[in-house]
């Protein structure tokens, strides 16, 4: 069971502000899903390596050559708020 306190902690880590109702709902739904996921622990995987990548690719690199920059207007075109050529954000405490 995922407690409300855990839900709040995870919500903070994920930067989500949840209503009391959402907290209760997620507490129950996450518990259900994770209960289902506990099944994975039945498998003995002591000698099984994890697979992060399905393809056996390695050493994919790029040469150190400068490309084109975006124009500042393009950079800031989607900005919700700006000042001069900067992105503007509320105060940082």
């Amino acid at each position: 069971m995922i407690s409300l306190k855990e839900v709040e902690h995870v919500a903070l880590l994920g930067r989500l502000k949840l209503t009391e109702e959402e907290k209760k709902l997620y507490s129950k739904q996450l518990s259900d899903i994770l209960e289902h996921a506990r099944k994975l622990q039945d498998l003995d995987t002591a000698n099984v390596p994890p697979t992060s990548h399905v393809l056996p690719l390695q050493n994919v690199f790029r040469e150190d050559r400068t490309g084109e920059h975006m124009t500042t207007e393009k950079v800031l075109a989607n900005a919700p708020d700006r000042q001069d050529d900067y992105f503007k954000v509320p105060r940082i405490l």
Binding site: G14, T51, L55
Partner: protein
């Protein structure tokens, strides 16, 4: 038949014979969109003006006697999670409702080179999280076969548009079944390619190690043509595989004599609608009749795929979706007191319920104390699942299974219970975990609703898949009949 219901290769033949112009094709498709879009709601954004301009360019090329590519002048709809320069790309999310990318995804660049004509951006489950398009922040797309039913998801808009004649071909993306399941529900062809065969550059990430772009088309030939155009190595995607890319149409011979096909019993058991099982058994007969050797096999770790998938996909998603914070683009909560307040309220208001649920789940799976039990264990189970497939492919060229446990369900039927909704993907998500290719093609009908069959191949075995799919399609058995009447 109306122009908008023809296939790309039929239209291409007519174009080079100068029987029609690209502009006429585009007009026909937009005419169809005008007629049915309010019933289907496949598109988030339409790009008629640029489409007509692109079509006229193609007509100029043809008039000038230039050799045109098979996709030149062919209308194509793009799922709204692929970046299109200058055209809004929303992922059907409020958090990106106004985002206009300054760059094109690699697949878009390749389609532009092929001179195909983009009709618009299609609806989807928000950030590709869902199996019904009901998670779109804007509206739900309807299934052209029965508008009370969902078109499937997350590429529901693309599949519905292809099925309803609102485009000729489309691109979708598939993380756990998001191309194949809507293709099954809408009675069209959908290919989830091998991980690494189509560039992900410009595809807005849901789960990076599982996402793949692929074609949604009306027939196997179109599928091969679109796959030819979009696949191949891209230096901008580090996970893109350098491989010798064949012409996939060369596999469309109709000959599958001696092909070995396995039917994993785990995909034909409980949880699969008996009527769907019956359809699959019928398709087995067709393949046998075409000279393939079909027998039952086993993928013993199948039951662990769903939990492994949900832990891995949501863990990656929780990180991939962290960038939507209201600083650089997209929605921002305006009255925030400080930066943390802005982050939290922007994201809470900007994301829908399913996206938040998955961010929560993924964050939890990665957090201190749970990483080994959940995330890392899921990575190890992934190894086992991949091993099952490797073993099966030592014996078989292809595997055959249902795409989804049932036909399209009604809107609202599963939305309240996330686990029930996740179950819809039990036949498709192992394939993403293993990174292998699979196609969904129309296999038959259940209650007058289309049901897909899935052919699963070896890594980079799209050729074998297309060969078998084409042979099946050409056999004429229970093949796709486009729904012209109901919408």
């Amino acid at each position: 038949m109306e122009l908008y219901y023809l296939t790309a290769h039929q239209l291409h033949d007519m174009l080079i014979k100068k029987e029609i112009s690209a502009e006429e094709i585009t007009r026909a498709v937009f005419g169809r969109i005008e007629a049915v879009e309010d019933k289907i709601r496949a598109y988030v954004t339409l790009t008629r003006e640029t489409a007509e301009r692109q079509a006229r360019e193609v007509d100029k090329s043809i008039a000038a006697g230039e050799k045109i590519s098979p996709l030149a002048g062919i209308p194509i709809a793009i799922k709204d999670n692929m970046c299109t320069a200058g055209v809004r790309t929303t992922c059907a999310s409020k958090i990106l409702y106004n985002f206009v990318p300054p760059y094109n995804a690699t697949v878009i660049e390749r389609l532009n080179e092929a001179l195909s004509v983009m009709t618009g951006k299609t609806n989807m489950d928000e950030f590709a999280m869902g199996s019904s398009t009901e998670n779109s922040a804007f509206f739900t797309t309807c299934n052209p076969w029965d508008t009370d039913r969902v078109p499937g998801g997350s590429s529901g808009g693309s599949a519905a548009a292809v099925a309803a004649g609102e485009t000729i071909v489309a691109l979708g993306s598939d993380t756990g079944g998001s191309i194949r399941q809507p293709a099954s529900y809408c009675g069209v062809v959908g290919l989830k390619p091998t991980y690494g065969s189509v560039s992900r550059f410009g595809l807005v990430a849901y789960a990076s190690s599982l996402d793949q772009i692929g074609p949604i088309t009306r027939d196997v030939t179109d599928c091969a043509l679109v796959f030819n155009a979009i696949s191949g190595h891209d230096p901008q995607d580090s996970t893109s595989a350098p491989y010798d890319q064949p012409d996939y149409t060369s596999y469309l011979t109709g000959d599958i004599k001696g092909l070995k096909i396995g039917v994993p019993k785990e995909y034909m058991g409980e949880g699969i609608d008996p009527a769907v099982r019956e359809v699959i058994r019928e398709t087995v007969k067709v393949f046998s009749g075409l000279g393939a050797q079909v027998e039952e096999t086993s993928l013993p770790h199948s039951e662990y795929a769903l939990p492994a998938y949900y832990l891995l996909a949501t863990a990656e998603a929780s990180s991939n979706l962290a960038r939507y914070d209201g600083v650089r683009y997209g929605y921002r909560y305006k009255e925030a007191e400080d930066i943390v307040d802005m982050f939290m309220k922007t994201r809470s208001e900007g994301f829908g319920a399913e996206v938040k649920r998955r961010i929560m789940l993924g964050t939890y799976a990665l957090s201190a104390g749970y990483y080994d039990a959940f995330y890392n264990q899921a990575l190890k189970v992934r190894t086992l699942i991949k091993g099952d497939f490797d073993q099966a492919f030592e014996k078989y060229d292809l595997l055959l299974s249902p795409v989804a446990p049932g036909p399209a369900f009604k809107r609202g039927e599963k939305i309240a219970d996330p686990l029930q909704m996740y179950m819809v993907d039990i036949c498709t998500l192992s394939i993403n975990l293993a990174g292998i290719p699979a196609i969904s093609l129309p296999g038959g009908f259940v209650n007058k609703l289309p049901v897909g069959l899935q052919l699963i191949g070896k890594p980079f075995g799209e050729g074998d898949i297309l060969r078998a799919a084409y042979a099946f399609e050409q056999s004429g058995a229970r093949c796709c009949k486009l729904n012209l009447l109901q919408v």
